[in-house]
């Protein structure tokens, strides 16, 4: 049971990275972004291209850091992929959502458009990489460490938790210490007031997309390191990510973080009683219960 909780925390980190981005986009841009999961998949595949094609070609050696399953190639691929997805997110915003915002389309049309983006990204991934399961480093035995209390954890998984914590701290500092971060929080709290104070809303929106895209791409790469890559991986995370977002109240990044852990742990612990394929319905049921009991989420104001 303890090892299920530990694994839940690891999955929770990945869900949280997705949910933090989603909750920011939801609040600041005003889109229920159904393409968020597919941004995640895209991030994982961009890192795959970097690790398996671009970086070997450049001449980066195929090293490994001690017990971890990756080395310098992944260290370089990681931020590059985050940056790439950040730009893709901004690109779709400028290409589609900005036009829809200008036409004063309602929120549902924007969500519909993002669902279209989700399918477009997934189809491109399927066309380019096919539908097989792939690994960053195939055929590698990845032994687990044995910790007290019967916990088994792979070194990679410790890295996943550390990376997630690092990114969240970075985001926290960005939002609290930089001018752009403060402007984003202001826009999130009160968009009209932010506008009259002279904050450039379009720039804020681009930054929000960039952060959301980058964080979810990081989640995708971490999932790829832990398990494997598959074109449907991000789509399968979409319901848990939304559940975490709603659980932690829309717009609240710390809520999204906690929501991610709650959903992650609940999904993993449920496998003790249910078939593992029912993880997704478990996340869904939690979401429905929250919507019934407290639709504004645990950190929401009545």
């Amino acid at each position: 049971m303890i090892s299920l909780i530990v694994y839940g925390i690891i999955v929770g980190c990945i869900i949280a990275l997705g949910a933090i981005g989603l909750t920011m986009v939801y609040k600041i841009v005003g889109i229920a972004n159904f393409a968020h999961g597919d941004f995640m998949t895209l991030g994982a595949y961009i890192a795959l291209v970097m690790v398996s094609i671009v970086l070997p070609w450049v001449g980066i050696p195929d090293t490994r850091f001690g017990p971890l399953s990756f080395g310098w190639r992944m260290v370089i691929a990681f931020p590059v992929s985050m940056l790439f997805v950040a730009f893709i997110a901004i690109f779709f915003d400028k290409l589609l959502y900005k036009k829809l915002r200008k036409k004063k389309s309602n929120a549902v049309i924007l969500a519909m458009s993002s669902l279209g983006v989700a399918f477009i990204i997934r189809m491109l991934i399927l066309i380019i990489w096919g539908s097989d399961y792939v690994f960053y480093r195939p055929g590698l035995l990845r032994p687990a460490l044995f910790l007290p209390l019967g916990i088994r954890i792979r070194p990679d998984e410790i890295f996943i938790v550390c990376t997630a914590i690092f990114l969240v701290v970075l985001l926290h500092l960005f939002l609290n210490r930089t001018k752009m971060g403060k402007a984003m929080r202001a826009t999130s709290d009160n968009p009209d007031l932010a506008l009259v104070t002279g904050i450039d809303t379009e720039r804020i929106i681009s930054w929000t997309w960039a952060i959301g895209g980058a964080l979810t791409a990081a989640g995708g790469i971490l999932y790829g390191i832990d398990v494997q890559l598959h074109p449907g991986m991000g789509w399968n995370f979409l319901i848990p990510i939304f559940a975490a977002t709603i659980l932690g109240s829309i717009g609240n990044i710390y809520g999204a973080l906690i929501g991610g852990f709650v959903i992650g742990i609940a999904q993993e612990v449920s496998t003790a009683f249910l078939e593992p394929t029912y993880k997704l319905p478990v996340a869904f049921m939690i979401m429905i219960i929250i919507l019934l009991v407290r639709p504004e989420g645990i950190f929401g104001k009545e």
Binding site: F34, K103, F119, I120, L126, I239, F284, L291
Partner: protein, 322 residues
């Protein structure tokens, strides 16, 4: 291709387009007239198909009982299958409506997406329910004894068209009644509808359940057309996404548009198959993804440049008022 082959091909196209038109009409009640954002069409489609399949087939016996499991098998006529499909989809819709219809529109979307995935996973995992991933086969077809096997589709096309027409007329009738006017009032401005003393939640629920029942009928029509169903058919791509594009393309808020969109987009969908035939051989296995990519791009174009669809909504208030 000789004439008989061509005409049977066209018939099969029309049958599928007609089935999708039923789904699109169901969605039109919800989105077109009430503004409900349901992206779990595949779930209700799936429930309808399986319910009708189990109502019309007998319980497997003898050697089959070892290999085929299903919850029940009533061996009743096709009409009962249709009714059962509508009722089952309606019950699920009612249950999912309770927590979500009071909330913001986008919550309904996430919830319906979740229910559709859950339904598919349940049918895929639970052997006892409807034979798991292998699905149900050999479903009966109505009036099958009248013609030879080869020509059966000429009967089924009539059945599909008649049912589509009945649903069309029923929705038109309902939408032009005071009830339909309340739905459109809710779509335009929920606040003022509720200030006029309308129980918004109740009306939304009726619209949602009605729409999902229609989708259930669509599922039943599909099941008895293909005669075999597996959970893999009812994915968000084939079950939900394409129906949305049909309605958006045709014109949401217009039942003729819903039908027209279904036929046009189904035509485009089939047409893209001919296009992908020109792909180099090593890309052939990825042809379906190209086709969906095209469909997705069409959706984005419609949303930006022609959100009202090919034929927009008719602004008719009542048949008594010009």
């Amino acid at each position: 291709m000789h004439i008989a082959g061509l005409s049977s091909y066209i018939v099969s196209l029309i049958i599928m387009a007609g089935i999708y038109a039923v789904l699109s009409l169901g969605l039109n009640i919800q989105w077109g007239y009430t503004g409900l954002f349901n992206i779990g069409i595949a779930g209700f489609f799936c429930i309808g198909a399986y319910t009708s399949a189990m109502i019309t087939t007998p319980m497997p016996s003898g050697i089959y009982a070892k290999y085929v499991h299903q919850l029940f098998g009533l061996n009743l006529p096709f009409v009962f299958g249709l009714l059962g499909a509508a009722i089952a989809a309606g019950i699920i819709a009612f249950l999912i409506g309770i927590p979500t219809l009071r909330l913001r529109d986008d919550y309904l979307a996430i919830a319906t997406l979740g229910i559709a995935e859950t339904i598919r996973l349940i049918f895929n995992n639970e052997q006892w329910l409807a034979n798991g991933p292998r699905g149900l086969m050999g479903l009966p077809q109505p009036l099958h004894s009248l013609v030879s096997e080869r020509n059966y589709n000429y009967i089924y096309i009539i059945i599909v068209i008649v049912i589509m027409a009945i649903i069309y007329l029923a929705i038109e009738k309902a939408i032009r009644s005071p009830w339909g006017r309340v739905l459109r009032a809710i779509r335009e401005d929920e606040g003022s509808a509720s200030m006029s003393g309308k129980d918004v939640f109740n009306f939304k629920m009726q619209s949602f359940v009605f729409g999902c029942m229609v989708m259930g009928v669509g599922g039943a029509l599909y099941a008895h057309y293909t005669r075999s169903i597996t959970p893999t058919v009812f994915t968000p791509l084939y079950g939900t996404f394409i129906v949305w594009i049909m309605l958006m393309a045709g014109g949401s808020g217009n039942n003729k548009g819903a039908i027209l969109g279904a036929f046009v987009i189904w035509g485009v969908w089939v047409g893209t198959k001919f296009m992908t035939d020109f792909l180099p051989p090593y890309l052939q296995s990825r042809a379906p993804y190209f086709r969906f990519l095209i469909i997705g791009i069409i959706l984005e174009f419609i949303l930006i440049y022609r959100p009202q669809g090919m034929i927009g909504e008719e602004k008719s208030v009542s048949k008594l008022m010009e």
